[in-house]
Subunit: 80 residues, 2 copies
Amino acid sequence: MKAKVFVTLKPGVLDPQGKAIEHALGGLGFDGVNEVRQGKVIELDLAAEDEAKAESEVEAMCRKLLANTVIENYRIEIEA
Amino acid sequence: MKAKVFVTLKPGVLDPQGKAIEHALGGLGFDGVNEVRQGKVIELDLAAEDEAKAESEVEAMCRKLLANTVIENYRIEIEA
């Protein structure tokens, strides 16, 4: 079973990587860009066969390792 | 108009960050993890109002800056 975790910075948290991309896009002539934020996708290939079990496992992984919940939000997508 | 770009390593390209996460999850007692790959999400806030125009603009951004198409795939999602 495959799972995807999307980890993004909470609104209000400074994102220097996003700002760097924004400036680089401006420098390349892309004008209509108001804001850029960068996050992470983590793709997991899990042995679990049960969707509910996989989701609760990935949820635990997020809280313990994958996301820093002080400054980051995460969203989990399970693919059968 | 908002756009999301998902940049992931092509299959076969070594992913040391993903491997590091895999080992760390194993160390924390999460056993049923076969593989982990890490990618990027880039969230863009665009001035463009037209969906087709926004998509072609983001496509150009991907080719010029956001993705290294030699080793990375990208997927674009436009949100109205």
